[in-house]
Assembly symmetry: D2
Homo-oligomer: 115 residues x 4
Amino acid sequence: MDLNQLKKQLRDFAEQRDWQGFHAPKNLVMAMNVEVAELMEHFQWLTEEQSEKLDAKTFDEVQYEVADVFIYLVRLADRLGVDLDAVVEEKIKRNAAKYPVDKCQGSAAKYTEYE
Amino acid sequence: MDLNQLKKQLRDFAEQRDWQGFHAPKNLVMAMNVEVAELMEHFQWLTEEQSEKLDAKTFDEVQYEVADVFIYLVRLADRLGVDLDAVVEEKIKRNAAKYPVDKCQGSAAKYTEYE
Amino acid sequence: MDLNQLKKQLRDFAEQRDWQGFHAPKNLVMAMNVEVAELMEHFQWLTEEQSEKLDAKTFDEVQYEVADVFIYLVRLADRLGVDLDAVVEEKIKRNAAKYPVDKCQGSAAKYTEYE
Amino acid sequence: MDLNQLKKQLRDFAEQRDWQGFHAPKNLVMAMNVEVAELMEHFQWLTEEQSEKLDAKTFDEVQYEVADVFIYLVRLADRLGVDLDAVVEEKIKRNAAKYPVDKCQGSAAKYTEYE
């Protein structure tokens, strides 16, 4: 996926509809949060095990909720001027330093401790 | 960005730390939602105008919160088996059909109506 | 608890600090959502069983997060002019009609179906 | 409003439907968060000013979303064993100490600083 191309595509989409005024970063964050909640609603009464193997209908709905979150996130990054490739790469490096393999072996306690 | 490579990188990261047990889709959705809220916290007392031009310190924090959401979203897509490229492309097509340019010109009312 | 007295107390608290400007309903909803996420963060890596019996330290933190959500919710209701006693009573009636006892016996499927 | 009576009423409602299994605190927090997002959705494209004066239809929907959040919060407090009256009173005291009137006069900067 070419994120810069996607950013441009979503920007054009909004501009063609004169939606720039609605798309202040504050509003986009809210809208993204709402989409995440719509995604989460599918999981709230499932056990963790059930969440691993969704039925076909739920999976289909879930995958488009995932897409909605992705689209808002890329749109938001564009409006904020965030370089997604760069910050994701940097953040993964920071996480690797923060959670050293030998100190984080499968322990919820340590996982939380290191978070 | 190569999303499939990123998926694999995040999967390796979790497996090396034995975190698969924590990373049930249900839990990952919750964790992603928490990251979105941490991002949103930066915007809650700002006006929409202020959210357009963050100061340098806030921008730096915001961009890594954006990265956190992105990382959890890609990790979740991997655990669910969602093909991000495909669903995002399909969802953009559906949005274009749902929000025709000539019917959605800059009107909050119509924007909402069509959502 | 006297909710009207609590509303007044929180209103005075905000007015004494000149926070009315920040406390637009839009902003209060965001702030409440952030508090809910802080509460949720305590639960994201716990199993459902673990979430039933929190350790003392977690319980103490959790109860004050619950209080934060409650306070924002009452403050929001005041700013919106929502009569909490009346809408809660009415909503419970509606739920009773929506989820008849004999059709909702312990089935996640039916629970979801009726939601 | 008598919160203890409401707790009991909601507990009876859940038990009559055999929903205790679904109502692990982890799940209730998720469900409450979803309700907060449904509430937030009404505000995401409004300006702060617009959020002060909702039209009648939006207000009616909003007030029942507020009720949904309230109901889940009281249900969650009951499942966790949180004494709402006590923690809300204590939290307000703590907030008064944390945000002294003379240091928090209407400044977003100071507001954030003290948060």
